[in-house]
């Protein structure tokens, strides 16, 4: 049974942050406990459930066959969607995608796409005629903040474990038969911070997001690259703060990759 004292918690979170404390007792640079479960959805080419504290996000991948874009005849593509299911939080609504959902999907998408983590040439079936399109959709099942990082982990792990479907001679997918995996060139992960009560907090909860003046996400890879950044919410960061967050993000993402054995 849910029982919240939202407005009270939000003002308390800001008050505590000023003293360097958090509602759940974490240090400002501490991430919540992370666990994952994979391959539960048998109709999907890959699926991952990420639990980050009380946040629960699941991702699934379906591969489809499509026509290549005119300017990249020998390359496949990916498409990332995000949904905050009304099941996951009393404030989430159904209907057309909200601005938050679109931003969430795009930031996770960019971290994967622009990082060239997936070599799109390997998704080519026949140049100029047929390519693979990877549809990755992730859903919040219980929303308690930081859907960016949990979504990014869910998406990356799903691609890393996905099975490629087999094709018949007319390039149609044969159901339930697979051949090989998608190879990843690097493993970029998002790390997100919120500025609350003037302090920078790693891995914000829903309450902390509500209390935040600004938000910053950066995707960092195992081979030392930053692959995407996004600043959000009305407030601002100093350059020192941004640099501090980037340094911390590399460490946090490295830890996560180690924990999840991503390499």
């Amino acid at each position: 049974m849910r029982n919240t004292t939202l407005e009270y918690d939000v003002s308390k979170a800001a008050e505590l942050a000023r003293e360097g404390k958090r509602l759940d007792g974490r240090a400002l640079d501490e991430m919540r406990e992370l666990t994952i479960e994979t391959d539960f959805a048998k109709n999907a080419e890959g699926s991952t459930m990420v639990t980050l504290g009380k946040t629960k996000v699941m991702a699934g991948l379906k591969m489809g066959v499509g026509m290549p874009y005119p300017d990249s005849q020998d390359e496949g593509a990916i498409s990332v969607g995000a949904e905050q299911l009304p099941l996951a939080h009393p404030d989430y609504e159904s209907g057309r995608p909200s601005d938050n959902e679109v931003e969430l999907a795009r930031v996770v998408d960019r971290g994967l796409r622009e990082s060239k983590a997936i070599d799109f040439k390997q998704l080519c079936i026949k140049e100029g005629e047929a390519v693979w399109v990877g549809y990755l959709d992730f859903y919040a099942l219980n929303g308690d903040g930081n859907l960016f990082d949990s979504g990014s982990i869910a998406a990356l792990v799903t691609f890393a474990n996905a099975k490629m479907p087999k094709l018949d001679k007319d390039n149609r997918i044969i159901q339930k038969e697979y051949s090989g995996k998608i190879k990843l060139a690097r493993f970029p992960l998002l790390t997100t911070f919120a500025k609350v009560g003037g302090k920078v907090l790693l891995d914000p909860t829903y309450i902390e997001e509500k209390a935040s003046e600004a938000r910053f996400s950066v995707a960092t890879s195992d081979d030392g690259f930053m692959t995407a950044m996004q600043k959000g919410v009305g407030g601002s960061f100093t350059l020192e703060e941004v640099n501090y967050m980037i340094d911390l993000a590399f460490k946090v993402a490295d830890n996560t990759r180690k924990k999840l054995k991503l390499k």
Partner: protein, 256 residues
């Protein structure tokens, strides 16, 4: 994988090895979504669904409110990867219809007149499927409503039942739904009174077959009910409270 030459009258066993009146393995857990007022997770064969209940809460938009009862708003959805061919995001006509009939089935079970002007939001999400997702969702949703502490005259227990490969069978899977003579009938009852609160069908069926199917279906619902009951009860273990569960008292000076 449509098996044209299968004949259950000869094989006496179904494609997945089940007996004609045997339901696929069913597992239910309640209280799985912390943000929700009530929730349930259900696995039924390959079907996997989540259900969450929010409410009773203020009905929005305001004109949807009813001055005499709570409105049960059901949203049945499937994730894009829950079916063999990717489903496009957003509700389609099938989702809409299923949401409506599920809402109507649940409205009979809940004492809705106790909460005028409110809505009870019931959200069900299919994350993996293999025929029978709507009855899986209805079964899960009714557990989630009970888990939310709502007053109800009964749970709603549901199952698929029908005909495939020449035999009357309970709980059809996808291979059976694709049989040339397939008839799939989702049915749900209030187990105490055996009132039928959901019933759909398409295909060709004789009245005689229906009479047998109805019996089979009601028995199937009662088997489902036993698992629902156990799922709700297992959340609480009666007995004596033990101070051991409190651990050691940490030493800290207490101001009086």
């Amino acid at each position: 994988m449509t098996e044209q030459n299968v004949d259950y009258k000869k094989t006496k066993k179904r494609l997945d090895g089940r007996k004609m009146d045997e339901t696929r393995p069913l597992k239910i857990d309640v209280g799985v979504i912390p943000n929700a007022d009530g929730s349930a997770y259900l696995e039924w064969g390959q079907n996997k669904v989540y259900a969450a209940v929010y409410g009773p809460r203020e009905a929005l938009p305001k004109h949807s409110a009813n001055a005499y009862k709570s409105v049960i708003k059901v949203e049945y959805r499937m994730t894009s990867f829950s079916v063999p061919d990717r489903k496009r995001p957003g509700p389609n006509r099938r989702d809409q219809e299923i949401s409506k009939v599920l809402s109507e089935a649940l409205s009979r079970a809940v004492f809705v007149e106790q909460f005028p002007n409110t809505e009870i939001g019931v959200y069900v999400e299919v994350i993996d499927s293999n025929a029978g997702s709507r009855v899986a969702c209805l079964t899960a949703a009714s557990c989630a409503l009970a888990d939310a502490g709502l007053p109800m005259r009964d749970l709603v227990a549901a199952t698929g039942v029908g005909k495939a490969y020449g035999e009357l069978v309970i709980d059809l899977n996808k291979d059976e739904e694709d049989a040339p003579d397939a008839v799939d009938i989702p049915i749900a009852i209030l187990p105490n009174s055996e009132e039928i609160v959901l019933l759909q069908m398409d295909g060709l069926l004789t009245k005689k077959e229906w009479e047998k199917i109805a019996k089979l279906g009601i028995q199937g619902c009662k088997d489902v009910y036993a698992i629902q009951k156990e799922a709700l009860q297992k959340k609480f273990k009666l007995g004596e409270a033990s101070k051991k569960d409190l651990g050691k008292k940490t030493k800290k000076k207490v101001k009086k």
